[in-house]
């Protein structure tokens, strides 16, 4: 078995487990992630609750599952939006060139001048604790990579004889994108999507951890880590579980998307 296969398998297992937890978890686990029971606070794992309870007596497993649903759907949504926006603009810039290319390139440079998290922080200041500034900010920070990749690859592919031949036959831009550009772009776009997915999952947890993103009591991995941090001594498993899931998600996506180095 090649090391590449092993790597892909580990990556798929990590991502698959988290996605399964996100889809099936909230449905299978009966406990309410928001229901407090102060008399059952900080119960150890393997009792009534598989992973014990937090400082407010809420089921950690139920909270993890709901947080997974939030992170996975959030990561997919923002990476997909960024991919659509960046790919679309990149294709238009490469096909049209001229002023369109210059404007799109300038937008891209302006976005890159701001660190991604700073952009999110600025937007989050408008609506603290809301979901949309996070989504918008992360998608806006991520589209740049898709744009640059697509524009560069498309520009060089458009010079190829196969595109010249297609134009001589009277084919339009849509046909050229479908037959001559997308087949060359899709593998790299897939890898970039997985990296973007991982980056946005990590970003949303990072922001919640420092208290900028989603606010308690919303179950979110970063939130859970912040809340349980003072109790690391009494409830180490409860604190490590969200960190472990975040780690597995990002690592799994990186392993799936990683390029082969020879």
């Amino acid at each position: 078995m090649s090391s590449r296969f092993v790597r892909r398998a580990i990556g798929a297992a990590c991502v698959g487990a988290v996605v399964l937890l996100a889809i099936l978890g909230p449905w299978l686990i009966e406990a309410d992630p928001l229901r407090q029971n102060l008399r059952a606070a900080l119960r150890p794992p393997f009792g009534d609750d598989l992973l014990g309870t937090d400082h407010l007596g809420r089921s950690v497993l139920a909270r993890l599952a709901h947080a997974a649903r939030l992170s996975v759907s959030f990561g997919a949504a923002s990476a997909a939006s960024a991919a659509l926006l960046g790919t679309g603009l990149g294709l238009v810039a490469a096909l049209r060139g001229g002023i369109v290319d210059r404007v799109a390139g300038a937008l891209c440079d302006a976005t890159m001048a701001l660190p991604g998290l700073l952009l999110v922080l600025i937007l989050a200041a408008f609506a603290p604790g809301a979901f949309w500034p996070l989504y918008l900010g992360i998608a806006l920070a991520l589209w740049v990579e898709f744009f640059r990749l697509v524009r560069t690859v498309a520009r060089s592919r458009l010079m190829a004889p196969e595109v010249e031949a297609a134009r001589l036959f009277g084919f339009g831009d849509l046909h050229i994108v479908k037959r001559h550009l997308l087949p060359h772009l899709l593998p790299a776009l897939g890898a970039l999507f997985a990296f973007g997915f991982g980056a946005s999952v990590a970003a949303v947890s990072t922001l919640s951890f420092i208290g900028v993103g989603l606010r308690p009591p919303t179950p979110e991995w970063g939130n859970m880590m912040t809340e349980l941090l003072p109790y690391y001594d009494e409830a180490p498993i409860q604190l490590l579980a969200p960190a472990g899931l975040l780690f597995a998600t990002v690592l799994g996506l990186q392993l799936l998307a990683g390029r082969d180095t020879k």
């Binding site: 196969e162 031949a165 001589l168 036959f169 009277g170 084919f171 046909h175 087949p183």
Partner: protein
């Protein structure tokens, strides 16, 4: 005199998974001798050379006896030949631009071999490199980088590099690929001078004119076997095997000259064209007209602007001055092009059938429209299920022609459509083109660097490079 021959091969077989790729080859070559191996692609001629070099891929089995300069390699591990690379046996690779280091000056590349393979001091190595360049007529080019050398010059540098280690046996794998006629003669002269100096040469080629220039011995390969062997002059004068006869008949030099076609109203004509690429004037004052049912050949050395002329007629490139007139009433898509490398003209990911269907859909043709054309061009329908890189060059060029014919072209620009094909396949494709031009009253501009081929295809030629002399600007360059 040394009694041991430079190379002896006896009963050499190369096999992959039970299938013979080279069967029972026997060769013998003395010092100063030349052996030309002729054959179609896939006949095993390159594998034979690799077996001699000891560079066969590990998954291929070989048996037999190979002796180089009296040293027997039959029973030894193929890796044992490594120590002799450069010292006893050297490879002259295809396309010298690609095999020279683009970041090193010519002289340094030669000196490096003298110093590292020949174990001399760098001072001696530089002196030897300078002398080698001098004998090859490149005395002033030692300080140049490969991209500043012409094809023939780069090939000479590659020869100097290959021989710097003192090798007495040189294996040249298609040394004239991609070179025009003048460069080809230059390479032949160079190889001959090496043979006169005592090196034994194995030259793999499918260019008969080149083989004739070299002289010496020749072996013709077909389907893994050497079918005919003998002195080149005798073999070319009286071939015995049917394949050799076909190969010789396919040489454009032997084609019947084409008859002129009656002039008609031109489909496309250009007057007083001047074209520049990258700030360099390629030609000026050039006029050309192509009539229905007529082939016009554009000839000239590589880089003189033949392809640019065709692109100007197609409207893909704007000329600096001059006018291009097209016949009125013809749609833009009826001006078409055939590419030198047909693989690059198809979308690499889709099967060929999809490419034809796309054209049918775009132009509202019935989806069975290709079948008649495919039958006419003798293309098997199963071929259309494969991707462009899964069919041979000759087949793909025919599919490309079928795709062009679908849109009922008025003008076709054929840009060296056969320069990468074997002579026999080249003749098939060219015959087909000639028939199609006559049947469809198609106007065709044929770009080629092969003057014999041009003469066999048409009586009307335009020399693109000669225009500079006519315009009197050659001195200004």
């Amino acid at each position: 005199m040394n009694a041991a021959p430079a190379l002896e091969v006896e009963g050499l077989c190369v096999a992959a998974g039970g299938r013979d790729l080279v069967r029972n080859a026997c060769l013998s070559l003395r010092a100063g001798g030349i052996l030309v191996i002729l054959g179609e692609s896939g006949s095993g001629k390159s594998l034979l050379a690799h077996a001699v070099m000891g560079t066969l891929p590990a998954e291929l089995d070989w048996r037999g006896r190979i002796a180089i300069g009296g040293i027997d390699f039959g029973a030894l591990d193929p890796k044992s030949r490594r120590a002799h690379w450069g010292r006893a046996i050297a490879l002259l690779p295809q396309e010298p631009w690609a095999s020279l280091d683009p970041l090193m000056r010519a002289e340094d590349q030669i000196a490096e071999v003298h110093a590292l393979v020949g174990r001399r001091t760098w001072r001696e190595a530089r002196a030897l490199a300078g002398r080698a360049l001098g004998t090859l007529g490149l005395g002033s080019a030692g300080g140049r980088y490969p991209f500043q050398l012409s094809g023939g010059m780069a090939q000479r540098v590659a020869v100097a590099v290959a021989l710097a280690g003192g090798a007495r046996l040189l294996v040249a794998d298609e040394p004239t690929k991609g070179l025009d006629a003048e460069c080809r003669d230059e390479v032949a002269e160079l190889l001959l001078s090496q043979a006169r100096a005592g090196a034994a040469l194995i030259v793999i080629t499918h260019d008969i004119a080149f083989a004739r220039k070299l002289g010496g011995e020749m072996a013709v390969m077909l389907d893994a076997e050497i079918v005919e062997q003998g002195a080149i002059a005798g073999l070319l004068a009286a071939p015995r095997h049917a394949y050799t006869k076909r190969l010789l008949a396919a040489d454009p030099a032997g084609w019947a000259p084409a008859k002129p076609v009656a002039a008609a109203n031109p489909v496309v004509e250009a007057a007083n064209l001047a074209v520049e690429r990258g700030g360099r004037r390629l030609f000026e004052g050039l006029s050309v007209a192509v009539c229905p049912g007529e082939i016009v050949a554009a000839t000239g050395c590589s880089g003189c602007g033949k392809t640019s002329l065709g692109n100007v007629l197609l409207g893909l490139l704007a000329p600096q001055s001059g006018i291009v007139r097209r016949v009125s009433g013809a749609d833009a898509h009826r001006f078409q092009k055939l590419y030198q490398d047909p693989v690059s003209a198809f979308a690499s990911g889709s099967p060929l059938g999809v490419a034809l269907d796309d054209v049918c859909r775009r132009h509202g043709l019935p989806l069975d429209a290709p079948s008649r054309i495919l039958a006419r061009l003798r293309i098997h329908p199963d071929l259309l299920l494969r991707r462009p890189d899964q069919v041979s060059g000759g087949e793909l060029q025919r599919v490309a022609l079928a795709r062009v014919l679908l849109v009922d072209p008025a003008f076709l620009f054929a840009d060296e459509p056969t320069s990468r094909l074997d002579p026999i396949i080249q003749q098939e494709v060219m015959d087909l083109l000639r028939e199609v031009v006559a049947e469809r009253r198609l106007a065709m501009l044929l770009v080629t660097h092969d003057a014999a081929l041009a003469a066999g295809m048409t009586a009307k030629a335009v020399r693109v490079d000669a225009r500079l002399d006519a315009g009197g600007t050659l001195a200004a360059l």
